[in-house]
């Protein structure tokens, strides 16, 4: 099958980018989308041009490194699927597709379709953990965890940190990503002691990184390759508000920014 691609080419963070048209004449049904781009790149190299840069690693849909927009949809048209697990059988001969990087102020472009998602790591570093230093753990079965809680924690913990939620959100909000970690750890008894502190610190960091606020649009849930539910955002808001009422630390003390009204910024 023949696929026409319009690909965002941008040499580095400072140079201006543009869309460039390519044709992949020999795509086939069994290929993954990234294998189709491999074929394009082999072709470009043979012609003496520079291949299209895109992030990828495991190609099994679990590392979260891949991801770009395919004709306006993060990770492409198939629900619950990263672009590395998207196969060409979902496209047809002659399809014309537009490939762009995640676009958000907090995710600067590195090259072509690759962006810098370091902001996500900094959100986790702010509080997305349980402070259990190595060696301090009690016997694993000493604290029973209700099966339902463990399952719900796992649902949220399945987040792969790919950034599709941010890319699809009109506000470029990281609420689903941040909420997923808050929901995961907050569901477990081990996560209770730091629950308030965690919510405040992570939300503050997301704001500081330049992500927008959540206005309950739900595009994030629609494109999340791990199908994380909006409920995670509700839990984040719950924990954040609860921390404001009962928490020992206030948001203002913990961060340089102050609580803002929901903002629609963040999109570049």
């Amino acid at each position: 099958m023949r696929i026409i691609l319009h690909v965002w080419r941008q040499r580095n963070a400072t140079e201006k980018g543009r869309m460039v048209r390519y044709e992949v004449a020999e795509a086939n049904q069994e290929m993954s989308f990234l294998e189709m781009l491999d074929v394009l790149n082999e072709d470009l190299i043979a012609k003496g041009e520079e291949p299209v840069a895109f992030d990828h690693d495991c190609r099994e849909g679990i590392c979260g490194m891949c991801g770009f927009m395919i004709s306006g949809v993060a990770h492409g048209p198939l629900k619950g699927t990263t672009v590395c697990q998207l196969h060409m059988r979902h496209f047809k001969d002659g399809d014309e597709l537009y490939l762009e990087p995640w676009r958000a102020k907090a995710f600067p472009v590195i090259r072509d379709l690759a962006v810098d998602r370091g902001a996500f790591d900094r959100i986790i570093a702010a509080g997305g953990f349980i402070s259990a230093s190595t060696g301090s753990a009690p016997e694993a079965n000493s604290i029973p965890v209700p099966k339902d809680d463990a399952e719900l924690a796992m649902d949220a913990a399945a987040c792969i940190g790919c950034g599709a939620c941010v890319a699809m959100c009109p506000n470029a909000s990281a609420a689903l990503f941040t909420g997923a970690k808050i929901a995961h750890l907050g569901r477990l008894p081990q996560g209770q002691p730091e629950r308030e502190r965690r919510a405040i610190a992570m939300v503050a960091q997301a704001n500081a990184e330049g992500f927008g606020s959540c206005t309950n649009i739900g595009e994030c849930e629609a494109v999340c390759p791990k199908e994380i539910k909006l409920e995670a955002i509700a839990r984040m808001n719950h924990d954040f508000l609860r921390a404001a009422w009962v928490g020992r630390e206030s948001y203002r003390e913990d961060s340089e920014e102050t609580v803002e009204e929901p903002k629609a910024g963040g999109r570049r």
Partner: protein, 637 residues
């Protein structure tokens, strides 16, 4: 060179405790004065960096991915073993130790394996405390399953994403330390050289993959946790970026490389569909708990699987191994799959595949139970193949999955270069000639959380480390070497892409040094590789410049190293004139076609010393002593 494994003697149950007591300690106030480099952020590297940070060391952590959370440990599906005996089914530390030594076909060090089994229970405690959402029973207690041929249920799991959850636990602990300032993280940095000063590892040279900048980093000790070298075969279940560059360049600086031919083929991967195939996807081994493996009885039977009647199916594993059936170890399952395909009974377009059938399990347990156990794996299979495994049997075929070989380390996990430690899959230590399922996660975390943090202190406290900085000649020399290599790759000006060479190398290795090997085939491969390597350096085309984000250039350096490593893999395979575990030499098999070990001549670890590219390396042998588990012929009949 004398290989001193520093293995303690005396009763095996107390070896690690006694050894730990004898290790020197670093005063808490002094820890921050020591800088430790950790390369890699998988289960081994991430857990080590986090733990060293918690202890108060000054840690510099590097990874090639855009975030430490991406390391390929994340893709492990099935589970992690621990001798908790929560099921009251007769498990114990000793049994896990015994199973691991036997499963490794008696080519691992007893002391290391015992320690691993002991630490397995601490790992589960630690991970639960971090919030790893392991599967639970209705009681709220942890669930277990039997996995990969074990006859007890000792595998802890988090759906089919155990590796992901364990890695995120380690990653979160690491991020906590990054936030606290004890660990500085350098993502998108690739280690290209190890720097040795006065015989001790004192730093590394990296390339910033975004800007192309080469940088020297000085430290008091260097820890490599950079994973395995399965990608030498091009097609493997490894992530695309997995590479051997860090360990290979350390090898060229004097670290010995042990048992490179011990590679593991995983029996349950999705078959190859075409030349463009970029990687192979594993289907968790846990599927073999409920799936039955079969091929048509007659060669060339092209009927659809559901229309082949029961009587015309050959459940070859159940037939040949009645007591273990579909749960035989990975190497046995893989070889048998190859054998039936070689007989022309393979299935699918290419004929390189066997069925993994859940029909009976669905009838017995109901679709909902199968969905609960394997739902995400079934979804993944359907996404990749377009076939629904609830209705049509899966097609699977073996693929390179894990490498038991790696840099030689002593009981302290230190390589033959003082001050350089190697953890996880990158070392050779605990799995012998074959790794059991759900044991890689265990080893990575044992090394990182519970072994290295003790042993590295002993080195730091007991070693005089004069101050050096990056202007030292050894650093200048290493940086120079790296710069020259990159320049040479960019200026080669050939016409062929890096991937096309890598694919050729992979085919050669898979064909002659894959599931089964012969002296003749290995000699052929050894004859071919040097020529291919020379052509690579003449004909490769690496577009772009060093100063940009240049993925072709990244690959080019890695593939250059794979070419050299491939030769060592074949050489080791040729030298080891026996079959054991994942290393199957056709000349050495029992009349029933099982691996035939030669304990009299080969009960040793083969550790190779670099003598120059194109020069034969020197072989050093570390004899293996079995005081507890006496070598026997593995039998799964």
């Amino acid at each position: 060179m004398e290989l001193d494994s520093k293995t303690p003697s005396g009763p095996i149950e107390t070896r690690w405790d006694r050894h730990k007591f004898n290790l020197k300690l670093v005063n808490p106030a002094n820890k921050r004065k020591y800088t430790i480099i950790v390369v890699g952020t998988g289960l081994a590297g991430g857990s080590a960096a986090a733990t060293l940070g918690e202890l108060g060391y000054n840690v510099l952590n590097f990874c090639y991915q855009d975030s430490p959370r991406r390391a390929h440990s994340i893709a492990a599906q099935g589970g992690i073993n621990a001798a908790k005996n929560y099921r009251n089914d007769g498990d114990s530390v000793y049994r896990l130790f015994y199973d691991t030594v036997k499963g490794g076909d008696f080519r691992a060090r007893e002391s290391n394996v015992y320690r691993l089994a002991q630490l397995s229970v601490n790992i589960i405690d630690q991970c639960v405390a971090q919030g790893v959402p392991f599967a639970r029973e209705y009681s709220g207690y942890l669930d277990n399953r039997s996995f990969g041929g074990a006859q007890v249920s000792r595998t802890f799991y988090a759906r089919g994403q155990t590796g992901q959850q364990l890695l995120l636990g380690a990653y979160q602990a690491l991020e906590r330390q990054i936030g606290a300032g004890t660990v500085r993280m350098f993502p998108r940095h690739e280690m290209l050289e190890l720097v040795v000063v006065d015989g001790k590892a004192r730093g590394i040279v990296t390339r910033d993959m975004v800007t192309g900048k080469f940088e020297s980093w000085v430290a008091d000790a260097v820890v490599l946790a950079t994973g395995g070298y399965g990608n030498a075969y091009y097609l493997s279940t490894n992530a695309k970026g997995c590479n051997a560059t860090a360990i290979w360049r350390a090898y060229k600086r004097g670290a010995l490389f042990a048992n490179p031919c011990f590679t593991q083929i995983h029996p349950t991967c999705i078959p190859v569909t075409g030349e463009y195939q970029s990687k192979l996807t594993l289907m968790s081994e846990s599927l073999r708990n409920d799936g039955r493996i079969w091929v048509p009885l007659k060669a060339g039977d092209k009927r659809s699987p559901n229309s082949i009647p029961e009587a015309e199916r050959d459940y070859f594993l159940e037939r040949k191994y009645p007591s273990f059936g579909n749960l035989v170890p990975r190497d046995v399952a893989s070889r048998n799959a190859k054998a039936v395909c070689d007989e022309g009974r393979g299935v699918g377009e290419s004929g390189l595949g066997v069925y993994l059938d859940f029909r009976e399990a669905i009838e017995r347990l109901g679709k909902h139970v199968i969905r609960e156990r394997y739902g995400n794996l079934f979804d993944m299979y359907e996404r990749i193949t377009g076939e629904d495994p609830y209705n049509v049997p899966m097609r699977i075929y073996p693929a390179i999955h894990y490498t038991m070989g790696g840099l030689w380390v002593d009981y302290n996990l230190m390589s033959t270069i003082p001050g350089m430690y190697v953890l996880g899959e990158a070392n050779f230590s605990d799995h012998g000639a074959n790794r059991l399922g759900a044991s890689a996660l265990m080893q990575g975390l044992a090394d990182g959380y519970f072994v290295l943090p003790y042993t590295i202190g002993d080195y730091l406290a007991g070693t005089k480390l004069p101050k050096v900085d990056a202007s030292h000649a050894a650093f200048r020399d290493a940086e120079n070497q790296v710069t020259c290599q990159v320049k040479r790759l960019l200026e080669t000006g050939g016409a062929r892409s890096v991937d096309s060479f890598h694919r050729d190398l992979g085919k050669l290795l898979w064909e002659y040094c894959g599931m089964s090997r012969t002296a003749e085939g290995l000699k052929h491969a050894l004859g071919e590789i040097p020529g291919l390597r020379e052509r690579y350096w003449r004909e490769v085309r690496v577009p772009g410049t060093n100063e940009d984000f240049n993925q072709s250039l990244e690959k080019a350096g890695r593939v250059a190293d794979f070419f050299e490593l491939a030769e060592l893999i074949c050489l080791d395979a040729l030298d080891r004139s026996e079959s054991c575990g994942g290393h199957f030499r056709e000349e050495y098999q029992t009349p029933e076609g099982e691996a035939l070990r030669n304990d009299e001549q080969y009960s040793y670890t083969a550790a190779w010393e670099f003598k120059g590219v194109g020069q034969p390396p020197a072989l050093h042998k570390e004899p293996l002593v079995f005081e507890y588990v006496h070598p026997s012929q593995r039998s799964y009949k």
